[in-house]
């Protein structure tokens, strides 16, 4: 199993806070790796909100190829965070890397006037091309290339990695932080198999194994969308399902559970949107997950969500106070992240619930699958 923590805060926070909460839950993960997603950034990136930020790891040679590629596209480096590890010894299990890349770019002049959808598509294609190049020469690993998003993933114990990479660096501040402490899965250790996963502004991380992985992967890959690739981890499909739902189907996150864990017959019949939901269940049948999974994610508008699968076999709790909320695999993680909260309002979502904290962090919204879908009216 893995352990997850997501923190959303009105004030920019250091990711260390999330990693400490993970550390509290260390009994639930084996410390074999850490994945970090940050958005709604503070620090120097606050001023660069609209500019795409590239996150990844490169060898010395890879950085040169990266620079060349970005220059060819017309991107200019606007700001970069330097992570200096050259003179340090990595913690046990962590490989020695040349460069951890976190760079914000200015858009190419030729992209001016493009529609938002086109820009988003091109950003994704640039990431995919870099990934492909990196896999070819084994000199680049690219996690994300998107405005207001930074991702760091590394093998090793989360806190030790954080110390090694100086993640308490003042340049790294974010209002939304997703962190995952991973455990080896059935699939080979590969940084691309490390949560959270990202595609076009949507990130998610998962606890648990996805037993319906292969048919879901087949289905996503046959959608004809170039971003539906990778799948070094069975959990990557959750991110892509959310992306497919938001972008191709135009549905809100309230519909997510209706796709991955649809209601059964009797509940559908008595549901006010039963007709619609039955159609959704039929046509999205291949996206039904079978868990056991807990999915925590972030949407392009910086809202965060938490859902459980139909069986609710994975732990998760949501809690906090106005302006600061967290989703955590375990109560102790939540306690570490936000000790001063009204604990009576902590909420453990069950098999029908979707928990959403909107970007204004005003409340924890809970939608049950049996409620009418607001987006339809």
């Amino acid at each position: 199993m893995c352990r997850l923590i997501a923190i959303t805060s009105n004030e920019p926070l250091s990711p260390i806070l999330a990693l400490r909460a993970l550390d509290v839950m260390r009994e639930g993960h084996d410390g074999s790796g850490v994945g970090l997603f940050m958005s709604d950034l503070g620090g120097p990136f606050e001023e660069l909100k609209g500019l795409p930020i590239l996150s990844g790891i490169c060898t010395g040679e890879g950085v040169k190829r990266l620079d060349q590629f970005m220059m060819n596209l017309g991107f200019l480096t606007k700001h970069k965070v330097s992570v200096r590890t050259a003179k340090k010894t990595p913690p046990p299990g962590t490989p020695k890397r040349d460069v951890y890349v976190i760079r914000a770019y200015e858009y190419p002049q030729s992209w001016e006037g493009l529609e938002r959808g086109e820009i988003e598509f091109r950003l994704m294609m640039a990431r995919l091309e870099l990934r492909r190049m990196g896999e070819e020469n084994e000199d680049m690993i690219i996690y994300s290339f998107w405005p207001d998003v930074i991702m760091i993933k590394e093998i090793g114990d989360p806190l030790k990695v954080a110390e090694y990479l100086q993640l308490d660096n003042e340049e790294l501040r974010a209002r939304v932080v997703l962190a995952q402490g991973r455990q080896n899965t059935n699939y080979a250790i590969n940084l691309y198999a490390c949560h959270p996963f990202f595609i076009q502004g949507i990130a998610s991380m998962t606890n648990g194994e996805n037993t319906a992985f292969v048919p879901i992967r087949e289905y996503l890959m046959s959608r004809g969308f170039p971003g539906y690739m990778g799948y070094q981890s069975d959990s990557e499909v959750f991110t892509h399902i959310a992306h497919y739902m938001l972008n191709s189907l135009g549905l809100g996150i309230e519909a997510y559970k209706h796709i991955i864990t649809p209601l059964q017959d009797e509940a559908l019949e008595s549901h006010p949107d039963g007709g619609f939901l039955r159609q959704l269940k039929h046509s999205c049948r291949r996206l039904i997950i079978d868990g056991p999974n807990c999915v925590i994610g972030r949407l392009p508008d910086n809202s965060v969500f938490l859902v459980q699968d139909r069986k609710k076999l994975r732990p998760a709790v949501a809690g906090g106070r106005k302006g600061l909320y967290a989703f955590s695999s375990e109560m102790c993680g939540l306690e570490a992240a936000i000790p001063d909260r009204d604990k009576s309002k902590d909420f453990q979502p069950m098999h029908l619930d979707t928990v959403i904290v909107p970007s204004d962090r005003s409340e924890v919204r809970i939608c049950s699958q049996t409620e009418p879908l607001s987006l339809l009216h």
Partner: protein, 552 residues
């Protein structure tokens, strides 16, 4: 015959026959039941003359001692050796014998009878299934194992207590984008049925006896109405009894139309009086047991009732053409036929074709993916059964179902239409008794559901047929169990109520076994269609061909 008598080429001894009747004089009570019950009159009352040599003791021998031979007669059972009356091994004689004095045994070597069953220039015709005695080696489906067992990293589920949804969809499912758009715009969305993935395959009223048909229908109705299992049954090509057409139970029935269009006059005329729509319409283009050959109901079975339902004169053989007379191209005629059937029920009933397993299945499928109305594709593999066919068709024609269904599924996945055109697999599912394992394997190879016929006959009615040429007389209406006979003296042996009970037994136990397979794989909320990562086989070539794991 006498040792110096004449023989004809087809003079056989009991030793030459496939089934040899062993009769025990000591146990026999001469009640005659065995001879009376034998469907093919392979045995008859035998009056045996016997000489007893009585040797007097030495003391008795004298000049006047007469010849000591005593001639006696005893009565018993004699097996005919004329191939026309060859025993079929059905075992009814053994079933009726009060003392267990008689049994048919299989020849220990390859019989000679097989060389003489084409007398009159008529090749052998029979009912039943492919004679492929692989019950020791097990077929491909039987050898597929489920190896992705949830262990520690994710908990296996409790098959007995967990909540399961093991349903499948029959009908054209639209891509999500289009489906939601049409829903919003109130457009026409193709009808889709949520059904149980084990379907009773097409066995016609005519091929089956009225009692068998009634039993199956009652079982299906009970499963639906009392147990909430949406089980469906296909009529086969023989129409549908008028009362069923006008009853609410029609919704549990898939009506089949085939190249002979038998029964469709009755169906069309019942349309205005139908209380419910049928579940679906199956257009039969082929049958796995005899691909490229049409349906066949031999004259023995065409009695008054069958003739009336099918709209034909009684007492004539009813061979359906191998293909639909109007079918000259798949693009046009098949599409038109599918649309016509949709139109008959106001576009409320899914219509799908059924073909026999064939290496051209992909071409058919590719075409159907471009036909917005095709509600699925049923493929019937070489191990499918039939009520009547030429022996050569049954034994040698056709395509195994496993690779056929796998190829089709993978092709759909390449096209991105794996959810849109559901595939149904039939032909030999459960032929060695492993119904749930075979069905689960086919589903994980990509089938949306499976169709079974022979298994139902064996398990629900006690059919004695086998892959080793036992019985197989379905074609001539002499079914000793009354399953495929139209002779009331035979079919009244079969109690429809008991058949219905067995149908329910089969479905309940199948359901439990299916759960016992999918639960350890961590699956419960949806049928694991295409979950090929769960499958493995101990044959490298088969593993490569099916794109599943190879394990030893």
């Amino acid at each position: 015959m006498l040792a110096n008598g004449t023989i004809i080429p087809s003079s056989l001894s009991v030793r030459d026959l496939l089934w040899q009747v062993r009769w025990d004089k000591e146990k026999c009570t001469l009640c005659g039941r065995c001879c009376a019950v034998c469907p093919v009159q392979a045995i008859e009352l035998g009056v045996h003359r016997k000489r007893i040599v009585q040797i007097p003791s030495l003391a008795e021998i004298g000049p006047a001692t007469a010849s000591s031979n005593v001639y006696q007669v005893y009565h018993g059972v004699r097996q005919k050796t004329d191939p026309a009356y060859a025993c079929t091994g059905c075992g009814m004689c053994n079933l009726v014998c009060p003392n267990g004095a008689i049994i048919a045994e299989r020849s220990e070597e390859i019989d000679k009878q097989r060389f003489h069953i084409n007398r009159g220039g008529q090749p052998r015709r029979r009912g039943g299934r492919r004679n492929a005695p692989d019950y020791l080696n097990l077929g491909t489906l039987d050898r597929i194992k489920f190896t992705r067992i949830s262990m520690l990293t994710d908990p296996a589920l409790d098959a007995g207590r967990h909540e399961f949804e093991l349903r499948t969809l029959l009908g054209r499912v639209l891509p999500p984008e289009e489906n939601l758009r049409l829903y919003r715009e109130n457009g026409w969305i193709p009808p889709v049925r949520e059904i149980y993935p084990l379907i009773i395959g097409s066995m016609s009223f005519g091929a089956l006896s009225p009692n068998m048909w009634e039993g199956l229908q009652m079982g299906v109705a009970y499963l639906n109405e009392e147990l909430g299992m949406p089980v469906r049954m296909c009529t086969g090509e023989g129409g549908c009894p008028p009362r069923l057409l006008r009853s609410r139970f029609l919704k549990y029935t898939i009506l089949q139309i085939a190249s002979g269009y038998f029964g469709w006059d009755e169906i069309i005329h019942a349309l205005p009086e139908m209380k419910e729509d049928p579940c679906a319409i199956e257009i039969k283009y082929g049958q796995g047991a005899k691909p490229g050959d049409g349906g066949l109901l031999m004259w023995y079975k065409v009695n008054k009732l069958i003739a009336a339902i099918r709209g034909v004169p009684s007492g004539v053989s009813l061979p359906s053409p191998p293909t639909h007379q109007t079918k000259y191209s798949i693009e046009e005629s098949v599409a038109k036929m599918i649309q016509s059937m949709y139109m008959a029920w106001g576009f409320r009933v899914p219509v799908y074709p059924k073909i026999s397993g064939t290496s051209t299945a992909l071409a058919v499928l590719n075409n159907l993916t471009r036909n917005a109305y095709a509600g699925g594709l049923a493929i019937d593999g070489e191990d499918g059964g039939t009520g009547a066919a030429y022996n050569v068709s049954m034994d040698h024609m056709g395509h195994p179902i496993a690779s056929n269904i796998r190829d089709c599924y993978l092709n759909l996945a390449r096209l991105g239409k794996q959810n849109e055109v559901p595939l149904f697999a039939g032909g030999g599912v459960g032929k060695n008794g492993k119904l749930a394992a075979n069905a689960a394997a086919l589903i994980m190879l990509g089938a949306s559901g499976v169709q079974v016929g022979k298994y139902m006959m064996q398990a629900a009615a006690g059919c004695v047929g086998s892959e080793t040429d036992r019985c197989n007389v379905c074609n001539i209406g002499l079914c000793p169990k009354g399953i495929t006979s139209q002779d009331p003296r035979l079919y009244r042996r079969l109690d429809p109520e008991k058949v219905a009970e067995r149908v329910v037994d089969i479905y309940l136990s199948f359901d439990t076994e299916l759960k016992k397979i999918v639960a350890p794989l961590g699956r419960s909320t949806s049928l694991p269609i295409g979950m090929s990562d769960a499958l493995a086989i101990d044959d490298k070539n088969a593993a490569d061909r099916l794109q599943i794991k190879y394990v030893v």
